[in-house]
């Protein structure tokens, strides 16, 4: 990416970056995206390892590409490495941030899930998994609402059109057998032609 910084990172800096992402991993209840403001504070404001536009571009490009949202973390590490001296360091930076953000949370989740599966007949385990049902379903609906709202606000006008697309997509997938990719392609086409 152009307009980057020129950094001279020591191994203590890489270690600090790794440690910070290990910590963020444990704090990321609700997904890695919930810790972005802390990442911004650390990478952009405190250490100046990324420019604000590199930070925003990391999130924007990751959202444009398919795959889980957490991949924006890889791009942040990648850009820190690029600023520190090019492609090999960029790969290293990507490893540092991705392993950092995933290692603690995946280990903990795996152990908890296996324990829960072994003890699935336990009354407390059943109560937790079944009892959380109404809450996590509400979280899905709330996420849908918040995303549709944020997305509509980003429009230059005609917010109602984006809302209409969101609501129609929800109803079509809920009630018909239409393919997800057909709807996504349709949305991209309408938006790309400047109709949204």
């Amino acid at each position: 990416m152009s307009g980057g910084l020129v950094l001279n990172l020591q191994w203590t800096d890489w270690l600090s970056l790794f440690g910070h992402y290990l910590l963020l991993s444990m704090l990321s209840v609700g997904g890695a995206i919930s810790t972005t403001s802390e990442m911004h504070r650390y990478l952009v404001e405190e250490h100046h390892w990324l420019t604000a536009s590199q930070f925003n571009a990391s999130i924007a490009i990751a959202q444009a590409a398919p795959g889980p949202n957490v991949l924006f973390v890889a791009l942040m590490g990648w850009n820190v490495g690029m600023n520190a001296g090019g492609m090999p360091l960029a790969f290293f930076g990507m490893l540092v941030t991705m392993v950092g953000i995933l290692l603690p949370s995946t280990t903990l989740t795996y152990l908890a899930a296996q324990w829960g599966h072994r003890n699935r007949e336990l009354r407390a385990v059943r109560a937790f998994k079944v009892g959380m049902g109404p809450i996590v379903i509400a979280l899905l609906l709330a996420t849908s609402w918040v995303l549709a709202n944020t997305n509509a606000h980003a429009a230059v006008g005609g917010e109602w059109k984006l809302w209409l697309i969101s609501i129609l997509s929800a109803l079509l997938i809920w009630r018909t057998r239409i393919h997800l990719l057909v709807l996504l392609a349709f949305g991209a086409l309408l938006g790309g032609l400047g109709l949204l």
């Binding site: 209840v29 959202q63 444009a64 398919p66 795959g67 990648w78 296996q114 980003a154 984006l162």
Partner: protein, 191 residues
């Protein structure tokens, strides 16, 4: 609850099947993979019932870390233990990551182009709707909830309101509403 444990049902055939399935799911996930996972694994492949999906999703959601990555771990681990968890995790991350790097290297400023920005908005609107559809489909499990469908729906709607309208943070919502719902469920079910 466990109505379908007796009859044989579809499941991943091998580690490679898990890896490839999750790779394909991840590559269809523009603006979030969860809706794609729910749609394909539950409605199409039928590896999980809607009830089981809600239970696994509760675990994935409550633990720290990216939710959909956690979900891949939990589902993979359910069939092949640690190797299954790693295969599903690798499927979810590996190919999308390579694709993303390619995109970052070649088209660093692609998201500034007005046509691309418009297309992303359109896809964002659809993606928001897809997650809503997953929520609506899974809401059918509330009909047979041990709390009774009325109380279960009340819990669901109240949680939706405090998050979407009042923007309560998760670390308040999960202990308060989740804790109460789990406590009441505990008293309803027999050990």
């Amino acid at each position: 609850m466990n109505t379908s444990t007796a009859q044989p049902r579809p499941q991943p055939r091998s580690l490679a099947d898990l890896f490839i399935s999750f790779t394909l799911l991840a590559l269809q996930g523009f603006g979030g993979v969860l809706a794609v996972v729910q749609h394909n694994l539950v409605e199409k492949k039928k590896w999980l019932t809607r009830e089981e999906f809600v239970e696994e999703w509760a675990v994935a959601q409550i633990m720290p870390g990216p939710n959909v990555v956690n979900l891949a771990l939990v589902i993979g681990g359910r069939y092949f233990g640690l190797r299954g968890a790693l295969a599903a995790l690798a499927g979810m991350l590996l190919v999308p990551l390579m694709l993303l790097l390619l995109l970052a290297i070649t088209y660093a400023h692609v998201s500034d182009h007005p046509g691309i920005a418009g297309a992303l908005r359109g896809m964002g609107a659809v993606a928001a709707g897809l997650i809503g559809a997953s929520g609506l489909k899974l809401a059918s499990t509330l009909k047979t909830h041990p709390l009774g469908h009325v109380l279960a729906i009340v819990f669901c709607v109240l949680t939706l309101i405090v998050i979407a309208a009042f923007r309560w943070p998760l670390y308040v919502v999960l202990p308060v509403f989740g804790g109460l719902s789990c406590f009441l469920t505990y008293r309803k079910i027999k050990s």
